[in-house]
Each structure stands twice: as C-alpha cells, then as structure tokens.
C-alpha cells in the first residue's frame, strides 16, 4: 500500500464509508462475530466455523463473515450481530453451533428473527447516529 497524504486519506475514507454503511447495508448480508478474549473463550471460533459451513451449504458465498471486538455482553458470549438488508440488524447471544445453523436457516434465508436469543445492542453508535451520515 502506498503512503497516504491528507487528500488521499480523505478520498479513501469517503469510499470506505459507503462500503461500511451499516444502517442500510445496501447490498450485503453480514455476520459479525465477537472475537475478543471473552468471545473466544466461550467458543467464538467454533461459531465462526458453523456459520461458514452453514452458509456454504446454502450456497451463500456473498455473505460476509467477520470478527470484531467485545460488545460488552460478556454474560451472553459468543455474541453475533446479523445484518440483513431490509431488516433491523440484531445481536444474538449464546450462539453455539446449533444456534448458528438456525440463524442461517431462519434469519438469513427465511428473513425472520429467531426466538429467545436476541439481545439489545448496548448503546447508540456515536459515529453513525450523531453524525447522521
């Protein structure tokens, strides 16, 4: 990667912002898994594998699976945020292998939320909501 200047950093940010717009997530379905120490200790790696396998079975190569830091819901690890276009993004807690398969089948494929495992996002997102971008 080439070293950035003030101008090229601005350009890069503008183009990345569009990709990263999480409120509408205009095209892409995303699965974001909490992979801090607490998530990993609770089995987040296995959860990730389960998502990848279940998505492969459904031939959903377009779905992005990525890791993130701790959301703070340590009592409900592993936690996973699921972002499907046209649906509110929600956080699932205690996502084991079986739960991951249900999320893929019902939420990602069937477009309905899965009972009993949804938790609240801890707070507003100051970067998006307060800026309104």
């Amino acid at each position: 990667m080439a070293a950035l200047t003030r101008e090229s950093l601005k350009k890069l940010r503008d183009s990345l912002k569009k990709d990263f717009n999480r409120i509408n997530s205009a095209g892409k379905t995303k699965v974001v898994i909490g992979m801090g120490t607490c998530g990993l200790a609770a089995g987040a790696k296995e959860t990730e594998e389960a998502f990848l396998e279940a998505l492969a079975k459904e031939q959903r190569k377009d779905v992005v699976v990525s890791g993130t830091g701790c959301m703070g819901l340590c009592f409900a690890e592993p936690t996973v945020e699921v972002i499907v276009p046209g649906m509110p993004s929600v956080v699932y807690g205690n996502v084991d292998r079986e739960m991951a398969e249900r999320i893929v089948r019902k939420h990602i494929q069937g477009k309905i939320l899965v009972n009993d495992h949804i938790y609240d996002k801890p707070s507003v997102d100051i970067i998006e909501e307060l800026e309104g971008n």
Binding site: R6, V32, G36, G93, D120, P122, V124, I126
Partner: protein, 594 residues
C-alpha cells in the same frame, strides 16, 4: 410476506418476568386479529431493565415499553403497530433517573453511551480500513495540518478529560507540563498494565479498537514534541498484543505511523514493551523503570515523569482509556465532550461489571449515572433474588459502597466522599452471602503479595494488617484489633512510597466504616454473619427434615457423615472440612450452617 416490523418481548432465561409469556402470546394473537402479517413477535434474551419489567421493544423504531401487562398487548398492537402512535403511558420513563443520556439534543432510552468503546463490537479490529471508515485517523489528520500544540491542549482543557488510570489527574495539565519542558528528546507512554483483580476494560478496548490508541499516542507525540512512544502491556494479553502489532504494521504501511506522517514533516513511531505481570509495574515510576529494563520499583515523586521519565527524558504517560477518548475529543471538539457527564467529571467511564450480577460485562456510561442504574438497569440485578449488599470499586485501592448509597451518581468526587475511589473501573457486585471481613482480607492479601518491599510502611504494615484480619476471621480477634487496623492503615496511607501502599488499607477502612458490625460479630460472638469464614461455621443436619436419602453421605469427600438409609444422618464435626458439599446436594433443606 416477510416481516418488516418486530416486537421484542424480554424473556431473559434468568429474569423471566411474570407475565412475559402471556404478553408474548397476547401480542401474537392481536397481530393475527389485525391481519398484521408483516409483524413478527419474538422473545428475546435479557434486555436489562429488569427492575422495570416486563419490557417490550419495537424494531426498527427502537421504542422501549416498560411495566407492560398482558392486557396492554391490544393497545400496543392497535395504536403503535397499526396506527403508528406510541403508547405514551407505557414508554420507559427516562426522566426517572437524575441523569439521562442526552447528547446533541438526541435522547436515548439506553443507559450506556459509548465513546471509548465506540468501535468495539462494530469494526474488525484487524482491518485498518474499517477503522478509517468510521472517522479513524481523522483526528490525526486534523492536528497535523490544522492545529498547533496549544490548540490541542486548549481542546483537552475545554473537554475536561481526567485520567482514567485511577488518580483522575486533568489530562490537559499533564500534556501541557510535558510540552513545556525543553528537551532534545521526549516520550509518550501508554499504560496498559491493567493489574486490578476483576478489571478488563483496557483489554477490551485494545482488542476491539487498537488503532484508537495508536492514533491518540501519535497525536500526543505531535503535541508535546516526541518522536517515540511505548505501549507497556502485560504479557498475559496476547490477543491485544497481536492486534496492536498488526495495527502498527498496517498504519506504517499507509504512512499513518513512522516517518513523515501523511506526507508532513512530523515523524513518530511506537514500540511495545511487555510487562511480566507485577501489579506495582502499573504505577508510573515503576513502569518507567521496567521499560528501561530495571526492576519495576517505584521512585519518590517529584521529579514527575513529565520532567524526568523514560531514560531521564520528559515523558507523557496516560492510561488506555484516557487515550481512547482523545481522537473523539479532537474530531468532535472539547465542548461536545464537556456536555457529557457531571461538573466534576466529564465524559464517560467504562466499568467491568462482575460478581453477583446477571448481565456481567463491559459497560460504558456517562459520568453521573447512579450505581442503581448500573446494577439494575444495565446489569439486570442480582441473580437468585438475593439481596444486594455492596459494590466494590477501585480494586485493591478502593472500597465498598453499601446499599444505602445506590442512588449516588458515580463520579470522582462522590466516590471519594464515600471512601472508595473511581479507580480504573473494576466494579464487583456483592450480595448477602459475601462476608465483608473476608472481602477486605482478599484485597489486602492481593496488595501484600504484590508489594515490592521497597518501603517499610507497605511491606511491614501490610503484612501486620493481614495477620490481624486472619486472626479475626478465625475467631481469635480482640476488640483492640479494630483500633490497630485503623492506626496502621492510616500510617500506611501517609507514609508509603507509592500508591500501592498508600491505598492498600482502603478496603479495610471502608468495610470498617460501613460494616463494623460484621467485624464485631466475628470478634465478640465468633460468628460470621454471612457464613463464609470457615473457622467460624459448622454444618449440621436437621433431624426433622432429614429423610435419610444418603446423598450427603455419598458426596462427602472425607466420609464423616453417618447414617443408615431412611434414618437421620449426622455429621462428625471433628473430621468435617466444611467444604459445603452436603449443603449443596441436599434436596430437603436438611443441612444448615451455624
């Protein structure tokens, strides 16, 4: 048809509210009556707010209803879902709390507000592009091209940020001192030693958002005139170290760290130094010695690190959480930041909520939030319907706050008035089963183990205090021990060389302040009211409740329970090790603790 609206009914397995299931069924029923097939009703995990339950939340408009009854289902569906009018009478009342999260005129039902943890749980910490997409490195760009060092300090001053590492020293003053000292070389240090038992706020921040720290340190380098920074991090945090290293490589590759940052003539780089896990190495002078390869022992101050720090050069040292606030203060402005929190303490604080609490985890709240809001609205209360007894803040340097102060707004000054401290953010909740003498002994034991031994008030005083507590918890205490605890404690506070010894007596002094009766019960009556101190309790079997099922005898690891099938069992006290196994396994409540 796929659902477009969702009604969430809080149904946390732990805190299943009475009526939640009926509310769920009624809501579904009402939706079907109205043929609302674009609505999905679902049960969710605990949403917090257990004290205001049952709660119902709607998506995507994020409305929270509290104190909902099954009869309210019809109104919620008809008014809100069908006609788009919120049911005012059930809206969760934000004004119930003294402090309500209000920023830029927006009002949030949630108690948490995330500045430090803004990216944690949202971005991929190993992907610099995601950080950049969320305004990452915008603050660095702004300072390098549009601000001079005094502008930065003015911004920090108007923000009113105070150090989050424990002492709460105004950050702008520290930056200003270090900036003003003339020197050919200066250093910036990030204190990521985080050694308090029960604390993991800094780990969460480093693992979730490493670039925020790198960016902030670089900004400081520009401000005070340093070219080099050190991150002092404990080796027990391998994941955080890995992500910091990856972050440094990526930002160097993009010209955001290293020579000629963003094409300017400013250069700055960062190196990681691993700590070996001694608590005292979190103290700034000991930390500096450790960075230099010396044994980690504190030195008297002055000289302060801002004058004479790493390699004898002026050094700016801040805590991880302090650093994480910096980029936001620069991009949003100090004034924006200063509106959050209280007069005395601006901004937010991250706490690691652990102990006897349903929703343990990392929480970030505006300063001034009350303990009650943290424990009951965010933490979901105490499991098993036990009574809240106290919360411990500030780790081994802090103290306990009893139930009568649950409505105290949390900020530096209020916690200090109560005889505890903000500390770095560990918050351990205790219930009726916790013995306060035992708690004091636990924290003091930690400080005694971690004392470096350099000064005698800490080395000898700490050990003496510990021996007295040991005496009390084994039933050998005398009344004058209480005075001794106070006298020695006060001497340590004034005479110890560093913060470790100065604060080590705090857990004792604060438990004595609020729970002296527990100390007296141990001393005078040889009784531990919480039934925790092994030497003061014994296990017995109630003849009228025991059915002779033999389960206790089968589970006793030392075989001291006697009795035939269907006959009352007895425990041979001479051999009992008081492990409590019989108490746990008895299904008839026949085992009791005296």
């Amino acid at each position: 048809m796929n659902p477009e609206k969702f009604i969430l009914v809080c149904n946390g397995a732990e805190c299943r509210n009475p009526g939640a299931e009926e509310i769920y069924n009624n809501l579904r029923h009402e939706c079907s009556i109205h043929n609302a097939d674009d609505v999905q009703v679902i049960r969710t995990g605990c949403l917090g707010f257990c004290a205001h339950g049952p709660v119902v939340k709607t998506l995507p408009d994020e409305t929270l209803y509290a104190g909902v009854t099954p009869e309210d289902a019809a109104e919620i569906v008809e008014n809100h879902i069908i006609n788009g009018k919120k049911v005012e009478r059930l809206l969760y009342n934000k004004n119930e709390s003294k402090q309500n999260v209000k920023v830029d005129n927006a009002d949030f039902y949630q108690k948490q507000f995330r500045i430090v943890l803004r990216n944690c749980g949202i971005i991929d910490p190993e992907n610099i592009e995601e950080y950049i997409a969320r305004d990452g490195y915008a603050a660095l760009e702004k300072v390098v091209f549009d601000m001079n060092p005094d502008d930065i300090i003015a911004e920090l001053k108007s923000a009113g940020l105070r150090g989050r590492g424990g002492a709460g020293f105004p950050t702008w003053m520290k930056w200003n001192f270090t900036k003003q000292v003339e020197s050919d070389e200066k250093f910036v240090v990030c204190n990521a030693d985080e050694g308090d038992p029960g604390a993991y706020m800094d780990r969460g921040t480093l693992e979730g958002d490493p670039h925020s720290i790198l960016e902030a340190m670089t900004i400081a380098g520009y401000c005070i005139g340093a070219k080099k920074g050190y991150i002092y991090i404990r080796a027990e945090y391998p994941l955080a170290i890995e992500r910091l290293q990856k972050g440094m490589e990526d930002s160097r590759a993009l010209g955001l760290l290293g020579d000629n940052i963003l094409g300017s003539d400013f250069s700055f780089d960062i190196e990681i130094r691993l700590g070996a896990g001694a608590f005292v190495c979190g103290e700034e002078t000991a930390l500096i010695a450790s960075i230099e390869g010396e044994r980690g022992m504190p030195k008297p101050r002055p000289p302060f690190p801002s004058v004479k720090g790493v390699w004898g050069k002026p050094t700016l040292i801040n805590n991880v959480e302090t650093w994480a606030n910096i980029p936001v203060i620069i991009t949003r402005g100090g004034e924006w930041f200063s509106k959050i929190g209280t007069e005395d303490s601006r901004g937010t604080k991250v706490f690691a909520l652990t102990g006897k609490i349903r929703n343990s985890g990392l929480v970030e709240v505006p300063m001034g939030t009350t303990l009650r809001e943290i424990v009951y609205d965010i933490g979901g209360g105490i499991p098993g319907d036990k009574a809240f007894k106290a919360v411990q803040t500030g780790g081994p340097s802090g103290g306990v706050i009893p139930a009568e102060y649950l409505d105290t707004p949390i900020d530096y000054i209020h916690l200090k008035e109560l005889g505890s401290i903000m500390g770095s953010g560990g918050m351990i909740i205790m219930d009726e089963d916790d013995c306060m003498v035992d708690v004091a002994k636990f924290y003091l034991g930690f400080s005694v183990d971690e004392s470096c031994g350099k000064c005698s008030p800490c080395r000898i005083g700490g050990r003496t205090l510990y021996n007295i507590l040991e005496k009390i918890t084994t039933g050998n205490g005398e009344l004058e021990d209480i005075e001794k605890l106070k006298t020695i404690g006060k001497a340590m506070q004034t005479a110890s060389l560093c913060g470790l010894g100065q604060t080590a007596p705090n857990p004792i002094l604060s438990t004595l302040k609020y729970f002296e009766d527990e100390y007296l019960a141990h001393i005078k009556n040889h009784r531990c009211p919480s039934k925790k101190c092994k030497e003061l309790i014994s296990f017995h079997i109630l003849a009228d409740k025991c059915v002779g099922c033999t389960i206790c005898a089968k589970n006793c690891p030392v075989n001291v329970i006697d009795g035939a099938v269907r006959e009352v069992h007895t425990i041979d006290q001479s051999g009992c090790i008081k492990c409590g196994k019989c108490f746990e396994v008895c299904k008839f409540n026949a085992v009791f603790i005296k």
